[in-house]
């Protein structure tokens, strides 16, 4: 741990904590500064069992869903079926943007349709299975259920709209990458 170098997000969060601690100190002195930390620690302890399970679920999903299977699915299908498969692939694929954008970029290069690409990324954003445990643990079941219910139709709809309206522009989009 001696070589731990904080990234930008960490530095930003440290700055926010310092500002908030300062505000608390101005309002209520040292007791308020301590109160904030202990209130946060209590909240973290309260969700710890659920978080541990969530990290385990996310890790196992990563192992059980292989990236190769998803790439093969998306490369080989088109039309409305391709868009629905892309949604499923986006929902299942684990990992952050540094994992799915290289895949999407490779698919763009190898001739995938616009609808498939938009559906894949939208489903990753809105249906992500690996994010679900964290959302459930940290936001609570009620907000999570409402959130998934109201965005459920969006990934395929975005895919269809993109394909229907801009599908013919895919070569132009591909050209921009050369």
């Amino acid at each position: 741990m001696g070589r731990w170098i904080p990234d930008r997000t960490t530095l930003f969060l440290i700055a926010v904590v310092i500002v908030l601690a300062g505000l608390a100190g101005m309002q209520g002195g040292l007791p308020a500064v301590v109160d904030g930390l202990s209130s946060g620690a209590n909240e973290l302890l309260r969700v710890t069992p659920m978080l541990l399970a969530a990290f385990l679920v996310a890790g196992l999903t990563q192992v059980l869903v292989s990236r190769e299977v998803i790439e093969r699915w998306l490369g080989s299908s088109a039309g409305w079926r391709g868009i629905l498969l892309a949604c499923l692939g986006g929902a299942l694929i684990p990992g952050g943007p540094y994992v799915y954008y290289p895949i999407a970029g490779a698919l763009l290069g190898s001739g995938a349709g616009l609808g498939v690409l938009v559906a894949f990324i939208s489903a990753k954003n809105l249906w992500s299975i690996t994010r679900l445990p964290y959302e459930f643990a940290l936001l609570g079941p009620r907000l999570t259920l409402i959130r998934y219910a109201v965005t459920f139709l969006l990934p395929p709809v975005f895919g269809f709209i993109a394909e229907a309206v801009f599908g013919s522009k895919i070569d132009c989009i591909r050209e921009a990458m050369r």
Binding site: P6, T9, T10, L13, V16, V17, L20, L23, Q27, G36, L37, S39, G40, A41, N42, E43, L44, M50, L51, L52, A53, A54, F55, V57, G59, T61, Q62, V63, L64, G96, Y98, Y101, P102, A104, G105, L108, L114, L117, V118, I121, S122, N125, L126, P133, E135, F136, A137, L139, G140, P141, L143, I146, R147, V150, T151, L154, A162, I173, A176, M177
Partner: protein, 162 residues
């Protein structure tokens, strides 16, 4: 809360059991990956919860309510959408913060708009998208994606009971 924890633990055990039943080392690798992620995100997680604690102590109910409260209407949804685009970091940072705001009096519409906007439009993610997909694709996806938080926020506004 206890029910949610039980559900999550049951899912974890179920998946672990399934991974164990495969003849490879899936279960072991899955656990290692989960623990690695936990270790990597622990500093950020602790900071996020320190922020949550201060949001509680500072109790900015009045500020939260007037900006993104249940009566903030379309303006609240727009503020939530903008805030979501700017929120940095992964789910471990964003979800505790959004939950803290929600419990400090944010309305359902702005809260949903914030979550969805962070999911679909986060500017940090767009910086990954550009080099792989090109600006034409990004513009198209973002303009479609902009409908998501607005639509969801408006649906949330209709269920003001939240």
């Amino acid at each position: 809360m206890i029910e949610s924890t039980a559900i999550m633990i049951a899912i974890a055990l179920g998946m672990w059991g399934y991974a164990r039943s495969r003849t490879d080392d899936s279960a072991q690798r899955g656990m290692t990956l989960g623990l690695q992620t936990l270790k990597r995100t622990l500093p950020v997680l602790i900071l996020a919860f320190a922020i949550v604690g201060y949001v509680r102590v500072l109790a900015p109910q009045d500020v939260v309510r007037s900006w993104i409260g249940p009566d903030s209407g379309i303006r609240g949804v727009l503020i939530g959408t903008t805030a979501g685009m700017l929120l940095p970091g992964g789910p471990y940072v964003v979800f505790p913060l959004v939950a803290a705001l929600y419990h400090s009096g944010a309305g359902l519409g702005p809260t949903l708009a914030m979550i969805v906007s962070w999911s679909a439009l986060a500017l940090l993610t767009v910086s990954f998208e550009l080099p792989f997909m090109g600006w034409r694709f990004s513009m198209l996806r973002l303009s479609l994606g902009l409908f998501a938080p607005l639509l969801v926020g408006l649906i949330g506004l209709l269920f003001i009971t939240g």
